[in-house]
């Protein structure tokens, strides 16, 4: 077999290619599902017990629901825009025992411009998380209004939490 591209062509392409992940295959999916690409456990991190995972998923549901309200999107519209299943969005928003699929989290992170690593942590796929992030997420969930349209205070709480997530996306 002969490689159909030249060494020079490869060099030029590699220089201009986006610096992104390239892995494929179902075995790798299992690793991703378990959040193994998250950084090594640090001194400021905790490993979540099952009841804490439920709390984090409540926060995740509130976050997605409020961001959806804020963008005035129905579940169907969000599903269409983020290319995910409607049922999964409903489960994320309302069932804290539901374990979201990593692809869905990745798509929602892309749609809402959120750090996927933090969404993985909130979903329970990643058990080792930053203590401060856990506390902030639970606090957000406690303050999140579940009644539909956001008032100005709800919006401020939502924006503050989203900013917190984005500010911490490089924190190990």
């Amino acid at each position: 077999m002969k490689l159909l591209v030249s060494r020079e062509w490869l060099r030029n392409k590699i220089l201009t290619d986006p610096d992104t992940e390239i892995d494929a295959g179902s075995a790798l999916m299992v690793l991703e599902a378990l959040g193994v690409t998250v950084p090594v456990l640090a001194a400021n991190e905790v490993v979540l017990a099952d009841d804490r995972v439920v709390q984090m998923r409540i926060a995740l549901g509130a976050l997605i629901r409020q961001l959806r309200f804020q963008q005035k999107l129905s579940v169907a519209a969000l599903a269409r825009n983020a290319i995910v299943a409607e049922d999964e969005i409903r489960s994320i928003e309302h069932d804290p025992h539901y374990a979201p699929k990593p692809r869905t989290l990745h798509q929602l992170a892309g749609h809402f411009h959120l750090p996927v690593r933090q969404l993985m942590a909130m979903s329970g796929a990643t058990r080792a998380i930053d203590r401060a992030f856990y506390n902030e997420a639970v606090r957000f969930a406690a303050r999140a209004d579940d009644l539909g349209a956001l008032n100005s205070e709800d919006t401020n709480v939502l924006y503050a939490f989203v900013k917190y997530m984005n500010d911490r996306q490089d924190v190990k």
């Binding site: 295959g25 378990l34 058990r127």
Partner: protein
């Protein structure tokens, strides 16, 4: 049998210099040992720290890394199977397993033979998601070019297919120009992975652009 196909280059992200690498068709004990001794320990650390034992057991994750070695053994002598490795200084930087026992799904080429990429992986130390300072860039470009070349060699005119992990979807869709056929609901992929396929025209565009 392992055979050197071509000398290529990977970009060292730290030095911003290219370093020569060898693309091999076929893998040998060196590559499997690299996987066990260099890749797996890094991955195992992540597994141990990120998940509870019950989760690991539930996902059957503790056995996954043996799949490579088992698959390599099972594939020996299978005419439809092929494998590729990219090495720098004798260390495995990327691996690809393919099978030609697969068929196209896109309407314009439905039912025609394709090279299906069963596993394409770069070493953990080259992955942005795995380390804050990944080393080599270019493994994916080299291995996709190898898969297209194999497809031509087999008379499949460059047609290839694969299931992408979520983080790689944009690479295959936007950079490689593969057709996105959506989430595969087949049980093997549990409705998680999207299937991508490259037509012969797409393959020509990829290698001639």
């Amino acid at each position: 049998m392992k055979e050197a196909i071509e000398t290529v280059d990977l970009l060292n992200r730290e030095t911003q210099q290219f370093e020569p690498a060898i693309l091999y068709r076929g893998i040998d004990k060196t590559n499997l040992d690299d996987f066990d001794r260099r890749w797996r320990p890094l991955i195992d650390v992540r597994i141990a720290q990120m998940t509870s034992p019950s989760e690991i057991a539930a996902a059957n994750i503790q056995d996954w890394h043996w799949d490579w070695r088992d698959k390599a053994k099972k594939r020996t002598g299978q005419l439809a199977s092929d494998s590729f490795a990219v090495e720098i200084d004798g260390i495995t930087q990327g691996l690809l397993f393919t099978t030609s026992a697969a068929f196209a799904r896109i309407d314009e080429q439905k039912g025609l033979d394709i090279v299906y990429l069963e596993y394409l992986a770069t070493a953990p130390w080259n992955r942005k998601g795995f380390t804050t300072r990944p080393i080599y860039k270019g493994v994916g470009r080299v291995l996709v070019a190898a898969a297209i070349s194999l497809s031509h060699d087999l008379g499949f005119q460059g047609r290839i297919g694969l299931h992408s992990i979520p983080q790689s979807e944009s690479w295959y869709r936007d950079t490689c120009g593969m057709n996105d056929l959506g989430v595969d609901m087949n049980a093997d992929h549990r409705g998680v992975l999207r299937y991508f396929e490259m037509t012969s025209d797409g393959a020509n565009a990829f290698i001639s652009s």
